[in-house]
Symmetry: C2
DNA sequence: CATTAACAGTTTACAACATGAACTATGAAA
DNA sequence: TTTCATAGTTCATGTTGTAAACTGTTAATG
């Protein structure tokens, strides 16, 4: 019996299986992204940006760049799109003329509500397909997975 | 006691938590994508395309468009990149002059091996961080999650 | 106080990813 | 033999994103 070899094969099989599972989760999320973007007729980056205004009166270009982890120049463009659609407006910061304060328009608030409603709905459906008694365990194992992903990531970047 | 209301809140909390977990998986995968692309100095779409040649002697533009689920014109561009890097070559199909047969060059084979080695390594690390006795359950719950995601997706597209 | 640093935001040029329509050329069917 | 289908390319366009150079403005420092 070649225990070592069969054990190696098992690990490789499991590694492969894990890759396929994670891939299919990612693919599914990208499909959801495409669907959302088409449903609301707004590029997805603009939707992401818009939702960051939830619970915030004012945000600056820099705030958004940090939150979205993209370059400031990207935010300039996204905000241009949102302003053209009348969802966001821009005023000067009375205390610092360098800064521009961005905030939602009434239509922006409405749009966020619509999008949030839709998002909550699909995530509720997602969780309702899982037996309530199994949810705790699902979260437990997902946390394990994420923990492992974080570890691998840190090791790579080290 | 307001059972119904607290139950609703619990569902919403769980829906929200699930969203956050899935988001962090997707983010992590995107980071891996970026890392891979930089490590090998090849755009990720070209890497994906290249790996599709694993175990295939010849592939056509159409084959690749179907496998990658993108427009043919996208494949034309990706193949241009791979040919410029000397990883893929193109010959005429002797049986049908419309068709171009794409295949790996020796360097292409080498590159695939490198990429596959790297990928297997990180996925092994990923699985090795999980207690061997818990892997079965992890897969079980991940399958449940994917099943649910598929159901929600089908309902949306219906 | 004047110069220099740092900061906020924009513009521009570029690259990667992706589609759709128009086009060329070939093969198959009527 | 005309017509239709197929394979692949080109071109125009849109989305996502970066980096560098630039304009103003504020803050720090000699």
């Amino acid at each position: 019996m070649n225990y070592e070899k069969s054990n190696k094969t098992l690990t490789e099989y499991q590694a492969h299986k894990l890759r396929e599972i994670v891939d299919s989760i990612v693919t599914c999320c990208n499909d959801k992204r495409t669907y959302t973007k088409e449903k609301f007729g707004i590029p997805y980056a603009e939707i992401t940006c818009l939702l960051l205004f939830k619970g915030e009166r004012y945000l600056t270009v820099k705030d958004l760049a940090v939150k979205m982890e993209v370059a400031k120049s990207r935010i300039t463009k996204i905000i241009k799109g949102l302003m053209a659609k009348g969802l966001v407006e821009k005023i000067e910061d009375p205390k610092d003329n360098r800064v521009k304060l961005l905030s939602l328009t009434p239509n922006g608030y409405k749009k966020i509500e619509e999008i949030e409603k839709f998002r909550l709905e699909i995530h509720k459906k997602l969780i309702n397909n899982i037996d309530p008694h199994e949810r705790g365990k699902l979260f437990y194992y997902l946390d394990k997975l994420i923990e492992s992903m974080q570890l691998v990531k840190e090791e790579l970047l080290k």
